[in-house]
């Protein structure tokens, strides 16, 4: 399926707290932006994937879309990449010609909490995705000699990018390594600046075949390769292998895309918490397992400083918590030279990585 499917249109709303709207309102706003971006109308859309918006039926009727391929995907962030792959398969097989993928999140204004509630481990007070990652990072520190301070260059690089991005929630609020070190603890060893934001917003992508994308308004960005490996062995506890096994399996993305690391200019890494960036870099082989602390030191992930500018919008930590949807949108924008002050010079290919029990990686590139 190499280079057969393309991103044709991108829409991202403003980010913040919008109690006057909801995930439907925000989703419609993002979809209209994406349609305008590529020059299509709602009636052109014959495939629809909706995520974190409660009902695909309500969303489809709201936008007047009557597709031949339609589904709702689970709200977990790993489903941004899964949704992308489902759309690509539908386009490649001919099940749809133009797929709109719409994610809407009003978690800020309805005060969604990530933790609490009944679960396997709630009687012991164990809850929240942050605690799972904190447990894993403490173990990583023990096994490999990494430290909490090793996460600092991740947080500061992404905040630096947010300060270059006028649309980022944390625009204009720079941080230092010392700020990272002294932030209040949430679930030790992780602290506030290791956690992603919670904000409202929406993202929409229009995907189509590479052939059809040529006739639309904007230069197509091709999905060159995608790889996924699940590992549900540790569903109920933090992953005792840091997902290194299933992440390593997604290195097949390079063969699938026909593009190696040397030919990639920037990364988009799912950063719900700063340690996932480290697990991703180790899992995809940017450095050896255990060496991510040394790897990110000195600004490796920072635009203008390092070889691997990552999450140039600011990511989930400092731009917007759009659960991978916004990070993939940023990869597309880099490949269309849309990024202004945060543009990676001569960006030809970008890689997306998501470290979870559904480990995934994708490589996007400019159409020739």
């Amino acid at each position: 399926m190499r280079d057969k499917v393309a991103f044709a249109g991108i829409g991202t709303t403003r980010y913040g707290s919008f109690p006057e709207s909801d995930s439907y309102g925000l989703g419609c706003e993002a979809l209209n932006m994406a349609l305008d971006d590529c020059g299509l109308k709602p009636s052109d859309i014959d495939g629809l994937i909706v995520s974190r918006i409660p009902s695909y039926e309500r969303f489809a009727e709201t936008m007047g879309i009557n597709p031949q391929f339609c589904l709702l995907t689970e709200t977990a962030g790993r489903f941004s990449g899964v949704s992308m792959a489902l759309a690509a398969n539908a386009l490649y097989s001919g099940a749809a010609k133009y797929v709109a993928l719409v994610y809407g999140n009003n978690g800020r204004s309805v005060r969604v909490r990530y933790g609490g509630g009944d679960s396997q481990w709630s009687p012991w007070g164990m809850t929240s995705p942050g605690a799972i990652h904190s447990m894993m990072w403490r173990r990583h520190m023990h096994e490999f000699g990494t430290t909490h301070a090793d996460l600092g260059p991740v947080a500061t690089a992404f905040r630096h990018h947010a300060c270059l991005n006028p649309d980022a929630v944390m625009h204009g609020r720079p941080i230092t390594l010392e700020d990272h070190a002294k932030a209040r603890p949430i679930c030790e060893p992780l602290q506030l600046l290791d956690y992603c934001l919670i904000n409202d917003g929406a993202v929409a992508w229009i995907m189509t075949t590479a052939e059809r994308a040529k006739d639309l308004k904007r230069p197509p960005v091709l999905l060159s390769g995608y790889a996924r490996q699940d590992n549900f062995t540790y569903r109920a506890t933090p992953a005792s292998d840091f997902w290194h096994g299933n992440l390593s399996a997604t290195r097949s993305v390079y063969d699938r895309a026909g593009i190696g690391q040397a030919d990639i200019q920037g990364l988009g890494i799912y950063d719900n918490f700063s340690p996932t960036v480290m697990f991703s870099l180790e899992g995809l082989g940017f450095c050896k397992q255990g060496e991510s602390g040394d790897f990110v030191k000195g600004g490796t992930l920072q635009l203008g400083t390092g070889r691997w500018p990552t999450n140039t919008s600011g990511g989930h930590l400092s731009d917007s918590y759009m659960q991978g949807w916004g990070i993939i949108a940023e990869c597309v924008r880099q490949l269309r030279d849309d990024c202004g002050a945060r543009q990676i010079p001569n960006a030809q290919a970008m890689q997306y990585i998501c470290a979870t029990n559904i480990a995934q990686s994708a490589i996007l590139r400019r159409a020739a």
Binding site: S119, W124, G125, M126, A131, R139, P185, C187, P238
Partner: protein, 136 residues
């Protein structure tokens, strides 16, 4: 600190024997009859074979600390007065991991790899929450 106000476990058909055993100060696990391996959380089939061939066994109640965290954020009203509280991930000698609180362990003395053993100090209502502290 009181275990009386802890969140109650979600009890289902598969884990009910675990919670009943805890009331008797026993830690029990399912053991796969075909592979001899134990697994947790309780399930209808062995994850090693997919078959419903397993028995409940009484575990040794011993293991080592794999990792640990300290919660500063309040997620459960009934645990607010325990903040900040520790949660440890224990690798039982039988293989499975359990998440538990660290009982009678000074924060400064916590070390990954330390030997731990189970105790049954109480819980919400008539339920008992297994806890782990320094190996007895």
């Amino acid at each position: 600190m009181s275990l009386d106000t802890r969140p109650k476990p979600v009890i289902d058909n598969w884990n009910r024997p675990f919670w009943e055993a805890a009331k008797q100060d026993k830690l029990v696990l399912q053991k796969c009859r075909d592979t001899g391996q134990c697994f947790f959380p309780p399930a209808p089939v062995s994850p090693f074979t997919g078959k419903p061939h397993w028995d409940w066994i009484e575990a040794s109640g011993k293991g080592e600390l794999w990792s640990w965290v300290v919660f500063h954020q309040s997620y459960f009203e009934g645990m607010r007065d325990e903040l900040p509280y520790p949660v440890g991930m224990v690798k039982l000698d039988e293989g499975p991991f359990l998440l538990t609180n660290l009982w009678d362990v000074d924060k400064d003395a916590v070390q990954i790899g330390m030997r731990l053993s189970v105790r049954f100090p109480g819980g919400p209502g008539d339920l008992v929450l297994p806890q782990f502290g320094p190996e007895a």
